[in-house]
Amino acid sequence: MTRILERDGTRMAVMDFGGVEKDVCLEYLPDLRVDEYAIVHVGFALQRLDEESARKTLGLFEELGLLQEEFGDPWEAAAASGPALEWAAADAAAGAASAAATASAEADR
């Protein structure tokens, strides 16, 4: 979230969606602070994005990867890297269109 404003007696905010700024209604998340992230859907902030939870989840995923490296079958790991790379490429191509098409987005600041 970038800044807070008031319009027609409604609590609003300007939020940055990866470079695109949009007005978002804050009535359901009135205590959201500048620099925090939120789940935004059709112009409404519906839930604060909990950064600590996000980091914890990513940490868990990293641990799973390390465990597999230590105990897993290296041939299987090599085979799995093929489609994973392709996924990254497909993502770059489809990314922008799909981000716009999905109704929900995790907003940047």
Binding site: C25, Y28, F44, L46, D50, L67, W87, A103, E106
Partner: protein
Amino acid sequence: MKYLAEFQNPDLAKGLLDDIRATVTRPWALMEVCGGQTHTIIRHGIDQLLPDEVELIHGPGCPVCVTPLEVIDKALEIASRPEVIFCSFGDMLRVPGTDRDLFRVRGEGGDVRVVYSPLDALEIARENPHREVVFFGIGFETTAPPNAMTVHQARKQNIRNFSMLVSHVRVPPAIEAIMTSADCRVQGFLAAGHVCSVMGTAEYPELAEKFRVPIVVTGFEPLDILEGVRRTVRQLERGEHTVDNAYPRAVRPEGNPAARAMLEDVFEVTDRAWRGIGVIPQSGWRLSDKYRDQDAEHRFDVTGINTCEPSACRSGEVLQGLLKPNECEAFGTTCTPRTPLGATMVSSEGACAAYYLYRRLGTPAANREASPVG
């Protein structure tokens, strides 16, 4: 955008996939409830990366797809009136009604406008005090709070030329309907994360217990889906059936209490027909008595609607997870996103549209053979 790319990291997907492979010992059928999740799965080929034992069945969580034909026909009728400005989310415009769609209405001179948010429709009402502005209020528990707030604001700001055509739906009664249907193969659910961001998780333990199915609240990025699958498979292999939250960065057990309170005030629970599925008891919301005068169905007396579904369309079976989109004879031939027979081919959350967009044109077996993992 923060915490999007991080949850799409292919390197981290490997660890999750390996853990699922190491855990699974026999076949399991999981349903992802939400159409947004279906799109992530098909776009990233997650169904093809998973071990053969894990099947993903696509659920009915596409709000555009399940909006009943009768309501679409009412929308078409209201939108055709000269005094009306009819506002809607974009993907409703190509959804086929009995004999046309909202695009056709616009082509015939109707004032049909696409908006990003229901608040945009309220703004249009403010700017056009001599016109009737109607917003098409559809969606699950994620979209219902924004629509409820807009009705509430219209009342508060005394904008009298604004009304809403409401056809909201709720996830838990749909899970109940799926589990009690005779053809049900579902053994575990990836619950829709953003629905739970609003509603919390309190509605789900009863369902998990009653049907002895694990229900794992799941997000929308590829790693979120894999984590939802991993946790569901783990429960199934252990013979457990609890509610688990694999999307804690956006879901708290209590959801968003302010949004839930607004829903309670503006809407009331009602039976709702789901397109292609049929009536599911207590599965919808309509405007409560207090807000009845802002109900477009009440304000515009729409009668004489005779609905008729195209017979070639099997979207009902797709929505219930009984048929994969590319198993339908019409898929990609007489039915495409430009000339859709059913809403599942139109919506950005429709399973048929996902299969078409990401080129799953052949049979599932052929696709599996053609995939790089073999």
